[in-house]
Symmetry: C3
Subunit: 259 residues, 3 copies
């Protein structure tokens, strides 16, 4: 009974997710399917990267992650399967796996070129989830060796995204927004452990945004900083959207002052 | 094979629900997870109470209900597990279980204080679903005795909500709105059996709202009263929102005239 | 382990879907439930027909499809179970099964009149999903013979919808819009194979809409025609809604010029 975790930007109205599940269950009736989310904002690879990265610590080892946010479908971007210590990751090579590499020793990466494990040898140009990724996940969950799926590629070929760098010195920390959740909270790439035992605040234009433990520690509509449940520094507004209030987006920089 | 039914206000975009599922499956690979809904309006305990109350008659006994609408997370509200004749209910003690008490003889309630069954001894202040509730559900589904989860509390300590009272006399019935569904239908706390074999209508300001069997019994845009599928008196507008048309909200009172 | 695929317009906020799952699992704990979609636009039988028709090739044979888009609930429309070579289809007889008939040799159709397999003998007038369809799916998944569910009806009694006709001659093809996806792409009923090896474009008012392989082949905001992933001619706008740009709706006609 292998778990296959599904993460896509397909949404829940159309049949894309259901079709992939049918293909997997046809190949392996014993696969267990768990939806992580299908509501990643369309084509937002950064959001998919963040969701995956913060999930893998909570599933059993050998879980198969089927990860499809794929604006480059139909182009020459590679479809890959990566084996790490926390499981298998099937995805387009577009950076969506870049968040899990540091948390999860990479053991092998292959390019999914063996058409024997595709739905058929002539995939569509728009739905590789059905034509390549889902059948590969099905076969992998049945115990097919990763080496059979295609030729090995080097870790150096993995696409990375420009969202992991932070600058740290005695007076300040400069990071970036790596995710914006459904409430408009701005999640930075600054991890909690850097801020431990320090006195600090976020400088955002004229605003000095002070740290608190919970959203409701400030009045409705007021800004606060906090360590979010996934362990990252986060900027929020009690009862409102920090994204809108501060007019921020993915990869915008955030400055923390150590005082 | 124990069923764990999940009811939250976490939504389906972020990874909160998926993370909880990973934790449960890591503890008990044989647990079967069924989503009731994750779209309870954010922090709306009344909506969560209604959803749970109208569901428990349809699942097998011994089902575990994992119920998280938790505006007080991080405060001193208790996390509890209640054993009733229809199953186990794991939830914050904030009134969300108040609807099932009358339908479901309570056998035991414990406060979830035994850190042995938490994810780790230092829970976050914002995500007890991951840190306390999900692991407890996992262990319970494996057969851990409820008495091991923490110390017993009395039923008198259960938080109740001010939404169950109705006044009945020969001429009228006064109740309250206990739920508003996605279409804006106003579901009252007046049960169908009180109205059986009576001639009645709803008096709402100047409007006399007459009873019908189906929404389409009146013209588009017109008000009607009916017994909804969960067995409660409901006020609706054919093809439109009664909530908006009548400007009503949760706990507003509703008057039925017996004639 | 029989798969039951659920397709409804119930949405994911209210408890309708969860209640049906509880009923099925109470009747047959070994049934495996897979959500196809519950976000069919409310009462849109055409959208439900399209979703089902394009899904059945991907699930194992003997899958049970529980298909509920049912604006006529409570009227005298029949509830039916159809046995075809690709599985069982439980649905209201309102045309929602009309898309699968051509793809799936019909072997038997019965009207679900045997109250022994209902939740109870007195169904509500608004929620036959709970009262009739879900319990019938549960019993069928346990191996109950279709002939026990009610009396046989002829295929001629199946309701059809006016959306399958296309006119083809040497100079043009006239079809209809049979589905509009969440992005506003207009999916016609013209199948890919008719257009193979031909030079063609879509004539829409003054616009000559040319064919491409991918959405991004044209500039943002520009119209294109393409063969969508389900194998139908589709009209789209890169990064925008063709439905809004062309002001089109279900069943509107679409003309292809062969040149």
């Amino acid at each position: 009974m292998t778990i296959i975790v599904l993460l896509t930007d397909f949404g829940l109205q159309d049949i894309y997710v259901g079709v992939m599940k049918g293909i997997i269950k046809t190949i392996n009736p014993y696969a267990e399917l768990i939806d992580l989310t299908h509501e990643i904002p369309r084509q937002n690879i950064l959001a998919g990267r963040f969701a995956l990265m913060n999930t893998i610590d909570y599933f059993p080892p050998n879980t198969i992650y089927l990860v499809i946010v794929d604006p480059g479908v139909g182009s020459d971007r590679k479809a890959i399967c990566m084996r790490g210590e926390k499981g298998y990751f099937i995805a387009p090579n577009n950076g969506i796996l870049s968040g899990v590499i540091n948390k999860n020793k990479v053991q092998k990466i292959v390019s999914l070129t063996n058409k024997k494990y595709w739905l058929n040898p002539h995939p569509s140009s728009t739905f590789h989830g059905r034509d390549i990724f889902a059948p590969v996940a099905g076969y992998l969950s049945k115990g097919i060796d990763i080496n059979l799926l295609g030729e090995e590629i080097n870790q150096g070929e993995l696409v990375t995204l420009n969202c992991e760098e932070i600058k740290v010195n005695d007076r300040l920390i400069k990071g970036k927004i790596q995710y914006i959740d459904i409430y408009g909270n701005l999640i930075t790439n600054i991890p909690a452990n850097i801020l431990e035992n320090k006195s600090w605040y976020v400088q955002e234009g004229e605003n000095k945004i002070q740290p608190y433990y919970t959203y409701s520690s400030v009045k409705d509509g007021e800004l606060l900083a906090l360590i979010g449940s996934h362990g990252w520094l986060e900027i929020a507004v009690n009862g409102d959207s920090a994204k809108i209030k501060l007019n921020k987006n993915y990869l915008d920089s955030i400055t923390v002052i150590i005082d």
